[in-house]
């Protein structure tokens, strides 16, 4: 526990941490804009692929082909949201670490990545996944990624 705090304090006192912490608040606003645009891209692609999984969008197009084109927006969005999020975190790591909403967010975020890599990415490449796999994929992805957004939004309030 105390070693975690030491690491976080060191991060906060690092050059990058100091630079971000002391920068103009518009730097923070810019990171937030990239954070929002990133997760809009990620969520939009997840929603779209889920609609295809449920047969509500492009039912005549092979799932694999829809996924091939849409999955890249998940990862592009993930990259922007994660990078900007890490920079925001660097500005005050010890503060974030003590925030229950942040801990909930990071837990959901970690679970979402594991789920995304181990299950989601595999199911969306199948020719014709069964009903159980489809619903597991749709419900878990919505729960985890929407959960990340909701708990993330709560960080400033709890």
């Amino acid at each position: 526990m105390s070693s975690t705090v030491e690491v976080l304090t060191a991060l906060q006192n690092s050059f990058l941490g100091q630079a971000i912490g002391q920068s103009n608040h518009l730097v923070g606003a810019t990171s937030q804009v990239f954070h929002i645009l990133g997760f809009v891209s990620l969520l939009a692609a997840v929603i779209f692929i889920n609609l295809r999984l449920l047969g509500l969008a492009l039912p005549n197009m092979p799932l694999k082909e829809v996924s091939r084109q849409a999955v890249k927006f998940i990862w592009i969005g993930f990259f922007f949201a994660s990078t900007s999020g890490f920079l925001m975190f660097l500005s005050a790591p010890t503060l974030y670490y003590a925030n229950p909403a942040f801990l909930a967010k990071i837990t959901l975020y970690t679970l979402a990545i594991v789920f995304q890599v181990l299950l989601y990415q595999r199911v969306v490449k199948l020719a014709n996944p069964g009903k159980f796999l489809v619903w597991t994929n749709v419900l878990l992805s919505f729960f985890l990624w929407f959960g990340v957004s909701l708990t993330g939004r709560a960080i400033g309030y709890v």
Binding site: V40, L51, M61, V66, R153, A154
Partner: protein, 164 residues
Amino acid sequence: MSILLELAQGLQNSGLGTALAESRYAFPLVEGTHLIGLSIAVGLLFLIDLRLIGVFLKQVPANTLLRQLLPIVLAGFAIIFVTGILLFVSEAETIIASSALPFKILFLVLGGLNALYFEFRLSREPEFQNSSAAILPDRVRYAGYASIVLWVLVIISGRLLAYI
């Protein structure tokens, strides 16, 4: 302006405004739902725009994609609209004073007009409706570019409401 300010103060001090602002969970929950609505509506709209400009799902007729996603986009906009009103009511005084507000309204209106022009003009043209072409006519592609730029500007000015 002072009438606007008084109106804003009245809204914020109303039962709903105070309840929202003072609740520990309601306010962030409404804000979070606003963002999820944004991802549904504007996110899917971006995917449609990317099809219009010819970089996404080129083998799918644009009209097919548009008609399938439009009801969901509109449902997302309903969520953004309701939560947006709630957020405005609970913070009306601050939001009215923000210099980002006129920009957000301007870009929203332009984004809306662009969408209406596209829906009632461009998307009704046979060249669009019956087309399975990967690359669409210039005016359709421009509407797609305009939509992306305008909604990104709405998001930026919306986020800046809390800062300037």
